[in-house]
Symmetry: C2
Subunit: 162 residues, 2 copies
DNA sequence: TATTGTTATACTCTATAACTATA
DNA sequence: TATAGTTATAGAGTATAACAATA
């Protein structure tokens, strides 16, 4: 067995899902950002297994709770995704009776999206999961939260969407 | 036009790729984590367009540079992914002459993976891109870097790989 | 029986390009 | 011509289950 293989065998944790952090990644912000976001997203996703909604749908419902009556194009701007990515989400939400589409009388090509009463209830339910998740993260981060959010926002501002 | 639609129209930035941050997400760590990781990863990916390698391959090359001679299973433990996800990556690296597979004389089922000289050169080249990206992030984060990495590591430790 | 690497398959998230129907 | 929404397609990243070869 090579020395490298030995190092792998001597993983610090007890179970085989633990992973080493290669030395080349130890002080790399991008690496830690990626791994932290991954575990955070997975923890949130796990909570949503009780529902039949995909994790990404929560943000759409929440945007609609805040900006009621947006068109798909407007919605795509708010969430920063291409409008084509919204089609299947809106279909899924519509099939479940969580949103309704209202034809725009001034432009036959377009329509506005509104939460139904059921949609509002579901948004509230998912929001409760999200808040539980947030509280967990807040507890982990502690008093550094404001600083953390500021740093992350700075990264987004500096690297942009380009 | 609804008031929500007006808010969208009055997006702060000049170009249409800017996105609002819905109030419900403003103080949510998970949201900022996701967006920051996304722009960071995209910035790094953009640098790798000069090569014919996928962004994820850099980490495999770098792990091999550090732990030479791992088997695919060992490699999968180090990078924390299922071993089936490595097959196509190893094939891609092998086709390009960046790694070589050495049959394990003690176990005919297995083999060890080594970087070729070309592989080492390519790893160094990608590592230079990564370092450039890291320097950018370091400049953005500034003196808070140690604290940031500590917080992110804490999140990973607390939420685990669940 | 258990493990190794591979294959087949599937799912999430995303994007681009082309299509349609309007404008 | 340009825009709104949709469709078709693709690609990166991931996972599970099953398979053949070997242990």
């Amino acid at each position: 067995m090579t020395s490298a293989a030995k190092a792998v065998e001597e993983l610090p944790g007890q179970n085989e899902t633990d992973s080493l952090i290669p030395a080349a990644f130890r002080d790399v912000i991008g690496y830690h950002l990626r791994v932290a976001q991954e575990v955070s997203f997975q923890a949130f996703s796990a909570m949503l297994e009780k529902t039949d909604l995909k994790p990404g749908w929560y943000s759409i419902l929440t945007i609609l709770a805040e900006y009621d009556g947006l068109t798909p194009s407007e919605l795509s701007k708010v969430c920063g995704r291409d409008r084509s990515t919204l089609t299947s989400t809106l279909k899924g939400l519509s099939i479940r009776g969580l949103i309704e589409r209202r034809q725009n009388p001034d432009d036959q090509r377009s329509y506005s999206v509104r939460l139904t009463d059921e949609g509002r209830k579901m948004q509230a339910r998912l929001h409760a999961f999200a808040q539980e998740h947030d509280r967990r993260l807040d507890a982990i981060v502690g008093e550094d939260k404001e600083a953390l959010v500021a740093i992350l926002a700075r990264i987004v501002g500096a690297l942009g969407k380009g």
